[in-house]
Symmetry: C2
Amino acid sequence: MADPVLVEVTRGALVESRHRGAVAVVDAEGGLVLTLGDLDQPVFPRSAVKALQVLPLVAEGHADRFGLSAAEIALACASHSGEPAHVATATAMLAKAGREPDCLECGAHWPLDEESARTLVREGARPGPIHNNCSGKHAGFVCLACGLGTDPAGYVLSDHPVQGKVRAALEELTGSVHSPDRRGTDGCSIPTYAVPLPSLAYAFARFGAGVGLGGFADAAKRVRAAVAENPAMVAGRGRFDTRVMEALRERVFVKTGAEGVHCAALPELGLGLAVKCDDGAKRGAEAVMASLVLRFLPVEGEARALLEAAAAPRLRNWNGIEVGAVRPAGPLTWAGRA
Amino acid sequence: MADPVLVEVTRGALVESRHRGAVAVVDAEGGLVLTLGDLDQPVFPRSAVKALQVLPLVAEGHADRFGLSAAEIALACASHSGEPAHVATATAMLAKAGREPDCLECGAHWPLDEESARTLVREGARPGPIHNNCSGKHAGFVCLACGLGTDPAGYVLSDHPVQGKVRAALEELTGSVHSPDRRGTDGCSIPTYAVPLPSLAYAFARFGAGVGLGGFADAAKRVRAAVAENPAMVAGRGRFDTRVMEALRERVFVKTGAEGVHCAALPELGLGLAVKCDDGAKRGAEAVMASLVLRFLPVEGEARALLEAAAAPRLRNWNGIEVGAVRPAGPLTWAGRA
C-alpha cells in the first residue's frame, strides 16, 4: 500500500505536487509513539546519522587526545555548507592529527552556500574535498584512524578499522544488523546501511535521552552539547537544522540526510524521530520534521514561529510574488496552519 | 487511489526512493493510447507549453514583422540555461522590437548553466531578467505586445492583451477551459492554467501532427522546424530536451516544465505525450519521458543509446563511483534495461 501524502505543494488555489512518506516516533525503550506509512522498508539514513558515526572518536578518547574543540566535534556531525568557518574548522581538525586536506577521501563539490561558492570563483579557485559538506565527518574519521594508530588511507572502505568502529556503534544504537546486503555507498564514498525507520528513531531516542547507550553514554552527552553550542557548524546560515537548533539548543537535536531522510531527538521527552520522504525531497522531509517537532514539543514565541514557517513555507517566484505554499497534509494537518 | 510508482532510484541492491506519477499518450483525434494514474487531476503545465504560448506571435505575423529568426523563435519556446548565446539571442529579439532587457518582467535568477553563472561572478556581475530561463519567452511576449501596438508594460498579467492571446491559443489547442479558478502564477509571473493531462497530450498531438490547429497550423509547423533546427536554444548544453532533439530533430518535440511536468509530440505517429511526476521531481519526469519515447518511437543507434541512458541513468558520487541508478518501474519496466 502506498505511504500517505504527508505534504502538499500548492499553487494558487490548487495542489500542484504531493510528497508521500513514512514516519516513526519511538521512545527510548523502543515503544512506538507515532507511526505513519510503511515501516518495514529499510531506509538508507545517509547523513542523518553523522552524530552517531562520530561516537567512537569521542568515546575512545581520540577527540581528547587530539584536543578537538566542541565546534570541531559539531562539524564532525555536519552536512555543512562549505562556509569559510566550516572549511577552516575541518582544516584545523586535520592539522591536530598532523594531516593535510588532501588525505580526505570524500570527493569535491562546490560549497552548498552560494556566496561561499562565488567567493571561490572570484578567487579563481576550484573546490576541493575540504569544501565537501561531509569534510568535518571525514576529518573526524582521519582523527579516529590516527588515534587508532592505523593508516587513514582507505578509511572510507567498509573493511577499514574506522568503518568497523562506526558500523559497530550504529548497530549498537539502532539495534539493527548492518549486513553487506543492506549496504550502499554514500555520496562521500563511505558505506551507508539501510535500517527500518523505527530502528533509526530508537537510536535517536536513546542518543537524546542518554539511556541505553552502554559505553557511548558520555560521548553522546558531549556530542549533543557540542552541537547545541555550535548549531552553525552542523549545517550553515539559513538552513533548517542550524536555525532550529539555534532556537531550541539542547531541546532538539535534528539532522538531515540525503534523499528525504530527517532524524531528530527530543531529549526532554525521551523521543526519537525518523522521517523518510519516499521521493527523496528535502522540502517534504523538512516540512514533516517541523510538523512533528511542533506536535510533540511545547514551543512558544520565536521558536514556534520558526517551526510553523518551516512546516508550511510560503513559495515566492523570481519577482518575490507569493505563488503557493508547502503545507502538511493528511495525518499531519495539525501543523503549520498559522 | 495513489498513482503508480513509475521510477525507482536505487542505491546498492536496494530501492532508496520512488517517484509516482501519471501519464497520458493521446492521438490527434483525442483518442487515449496509453494512460497511467489519475487523469482527472488538473496539472499546471508550467513551462512545458511554451511552444504553444508562442503561436500567436508567429500566427499573427508579428514574428515576421520584426524579422525574428528561427533561433529566436526557438528561444521563445525555451527554458534556457542562460548561456551567452541564449542571453545574446534574447537581447537581439528585444532590440528588433526596439526594446531593452529592462522591460522584461520575468524576474532575475542565476544562469542554470553553472559555467555561465561562474562567468558572471568572475566579471563581478549579477544576473538580470535576461538570464532568467524564461527570457526568450518573455522577449516573445514583448514582441507580441509591440506587434499588437500595445504597451508591453504589465504583459505578464492575465488581463493584458498578450496573455489574452496566449490563453486563447492554449484553450483552442488543449480544448480545456482556462478559467480563473484553474489559474496559478508561474515562476516568471505569467499565469499558468491547470488542465487535465490528456488535454495537454491532445494539444501536443495536434501540434506535432499539424492537424486540427485552425489558424495556428502554419505557425505550429514553423515553430516545430525552428526548434528542430535549434535544439540548443530550447534548453542548453547537456540538458535532456536539447540532447534528445539534437539526436532526433523533427521526429521528437520535447519540453520540460517545472514540478515534474514533461510534454512531447511524436509527429510521425501523430501522438502527444504528457507526464506529471506527482512529487515534482525532474529526474522522475525525464526518466518517464525517455521511457515513453522509447516505447512508441522506432529509434536506433546513438539516439537509442541516449534515450536508454536518460530512461535509466547511472548515479555516481563525488568520487565518480557508481552508487545506484534511476530506473523505470512498474508499468514502465519495458525501458532502459540495457
